[in-house]
Point group: D2
Chain length 279, copies 4
Amino acid sequence: MQHPVHALLLVTKPGQDDAQQTAREVQLWLREREVRTLLVENSLDQDNLDLNGFVPDAALVLGGDGTLLAVARKLRRHQIPLLGINLGHVGFLTEVEEEDWHPSLEQLLAQQGRISQRMALEFEVKRGDRTIHSGWALNDVVVNRGRIARLIGLDISIDSQPVGPIRADGIVVATPTGTTAYAVSAGGPLVHPELEAICMTPICPFMSHIRPMVLDAGHRIRIDITSHSAEACLTLDGQVGFDLLPGDAIHLQRSAFDARFINLHPKAYLDKLRSKGYF
Amino acid sequence: MQHPVHALLLVTKPGQDDAQQTAREVQLWLREREVRTLLVENSLDQDNLDLNGFVPDAALVLGGDGTLLAVARKLRRHQIPLLGINLGHVGFLTEVEEEDWHPSLEQLLAQQGRISQRMALEFEVKRGDRTIHSGWALNDVVVNRGRIARLIGLDISIDSQPVGPIRADGIVVATPTGTTAYAVSAGGPLVHPELEAICMTPICPFMSHIRPMVLDAGHRIRIDITSHSAEACLTLDGQVGFDLLPGDAIHLQRSAFDARFINLHPKAYLDKLRSKGYF
Amino acid sequence: MQHPVHALLLVTKPGQDDAQQTAREVQLWLREREVRTLLVENSLDQDNLDLNGFVPDAALVLGGDGTLLAVARKLRRHQIPLLGINLGHVGFLTEVEEEDWHPSLEQLLAQQGRISQRMALEFEVKRGDRTIHSGWALNDVVVNRGRIARLIGLDISIDSQPVGPIRADGIVVATPTGTTAYAVSAGGPLVHPELEAICMTPICPFMSHIRPMVLDAGHRIRIDITSHSAEACLTLDGQVGFDLLPGDAIHLQRSAFDARFINLHPKAYLDKLRSKGYF
Amino acid sequence: MQHPVHALLLVTKPGQDDAQQTAREVQLWLREREVRTLLVENSLDQDNLDLNGFVPDAALVLGGDGTLLAVARKLRRHQIPLLGINLGHVGFLTEVEEEDWHPSLEQLLAQQGRISQRMALEFEVKRGDRTIHSGWALNDVVVNRGRIARLIGLDISIDSQPVGPIRADGIVVATPTGTTAYAVSAGGPLVHPELEAICMTPICPFMSHIRPMVLDAGHRIRIDITSHSAEACLTLDGQVGFDLLPGDAIHLQRSAFDARFINLHPKAYLDKLRSKGYF
């Protein structure tokens, strides 16, 4: 953090009283230190956070990894750094445990944090000539079967070169940050977040020896929905779904907008992997 | 086939003109040979086939593997043998290719077929004390996430012994017949249909080294839905879905009703695996 | 155990003083109860145990799973039941922990044990027309690459039907008992020991979607060594190696000799899997 | 190729007459164009190629991928670019098919080639305080079990942070170039060669959910041999073995010496993957 924090956005997980309670304590504590704040709830229905003209230097997110992923998505164009206070279970992305918010905010105001940039993905869904949907994800964009357990047909190409058709449960396109999430369940590798890479992992491919692939971040991926007999869906960061139709084409690439996180006590990545049980 | 065929049920894949056309040709051909027939469509909306008092000695199914699976399910209590005429793509279960129906039916009437029994699964879904759903499957019963790609929590036990909780995309419980279908995509083994066994394969388990398990067919499996944050669904033979809620318990076991197929030219199982591309 | 125990063979892991010590205590204790004993060491160099005319009703094996596997192999033709006293780490097959030998032997003498039979494998290695090696294994027969990490070429057939050539690190042919050992590392399923089955699992196959296969125990497997550029080896129960040459053919099938174990407190299989950390 | 080719080293696969024959034709052809040549055989026994003072601008390698890997290793300190003429089967690394050598060498002399750098690995084996072995590999350094199929114990750390102990068949540490070789058989991802990364893939880990990891190339890996009951070995590029003892520590990192290959008709990587059957 090179510039001081005068204005801080506080975002809470919706419908959680203790998040609200902690947020208000934090707000009081910050007011005493002459930091202006805006407190908003991360409403699940909305694609944006309404800041009403408030221009924050950073955002404090009170919730779990899920809330942090959602807030990162909604604030992506603001390019402000985020600090997560973990009220959830896993807390892979959140930096601070709830009971530690006092000393952590003191560090933040003392400009002791370091900002780490994490690359993200953006995508467009084309139906015929029209772009019918687009978005941004910090962890992963998944093309997956619907609620019936029935394989879907996909045709994949990278930089206009065909990788070929597969029948599968779907495919995970993940950032390095996202490889610890769904991708690893699907059999993908853990990719160190310092690499600028895109990791593509097929989910349960049928009669295929296609492997997970790690591409450098300059590649563009295209996924065409070829199956007519099963429902397909696009899922962002395990949170938001969008129904796909046969013939739809999903275009994916690295986003121009990185996510920025505040690291107060830079725990090494491997250390974090181990403490969270990855090995 | 130990007893002669005097009455034959003909079931067609719905909405397919060529199936109808072939069925009518078959019907004429059978009438000349004094075999009574009933022609019905395998309606996707109905759980049963209405035979209107007709008592067939066997059933001829014109469609792909999907239609054959559905008809096997709907006729399970009749315990009549089925013969599939393949109008579909894969045709792993269907015995006869469309162009070969003449000689095949001659074989059938000459009682040259052999009946192979295939074990099946039955299940109940309990919500609290009530059984809210039950059914039968020839290939597999799958408990799976809904349309959002988000892991679900499951608690598995076998014969009342805990196997433990997993977070996964779901779990496939398959008969040996069904191991060539979804189970193999999920990383399960191919199990020879002569074995009386149940194969349980977790789908994309998260941070778990749980392995596919092959149990002898006397075991009973229970799967409890523990996750509150993701939708779960039960899928029968890749065809029929049923929405599950947190707290639901799925009880699975071998069914008292086997499926019966007519084998006219008993192609060895391994031969079939190879011709269909499994190795 | 239907007939009383008058003569007991004691086999110890070689070069282990505490095994010797415990064995002598057991021997004294048995002598007081008028049970005749013979104490032999399981020499690693020898393929047989020299019983010198002693005819035991059962054998007590003091060591870990490895010793028990070796003794089962060496005594296979005697068809006497084995009871393992665990002095090793894992103890998946051994029934009794070292400190519990007193009450366990009392149970044994009171004929309270139940005998469980476990199917085994036998194999022959043919070089041209000659059988150059043969043997028996309780867990698994593995055809594997030598000490250089370099894939070998194998050609597999089952009951004379081709499964096809693979390039791989090797292949594990396991009994249900053996599926908890090397097979599970190679990606194979756990197969319940009540099933009479053979589980074949390729090890690290290259560009192949070949899956582990579970066959009923009547099948015969043949593995031909096709590669000329890498060393191949046959390994029995993870213990004994035999060098193979290009052109060698390994023939495998269920053995006529089962292994027999004494179960004193029949711990359910799943319970054992869980206690040993399989899930 | 920015500077002209006046002196060319020709290296042939040993004991192969057609390689010798082609090499001599090439030599004649080059002499007519006033390019000096030295023809040497890639002897399997020697760790170096004896150039006798000859200073080549590039090296032409007549053989398969194996020969090219070996020559790259032996010439690594010369930092000259290599061009492979494929006399082998796979030819993933070799650029030119045998029948195309004429036009390809014309392109080479016309300086139409592009040089692609491929990162490599270097390692040291420490026994106590002494470095008892060291080396360089373009594809992979593998720590693996010996000829008996028996898991070995390894303790892995990255940049002095513990990843933890595993029992496995071994571990593959691969460059991006090497991920298409042994790593992919062991379940690792394909890593695009433009990424500067190290890919670590455990081989058949026992009761572990450890995943393949892709690290950026600045990381250092240490592997300690912990098992006393099984032989361990180190394999370079699937070619050269070195016996390890319990207590040995293998230290791995990116080498200061990259390999350099001449690309005459830069076939895109994905195109090559597809043509070689990876998908």
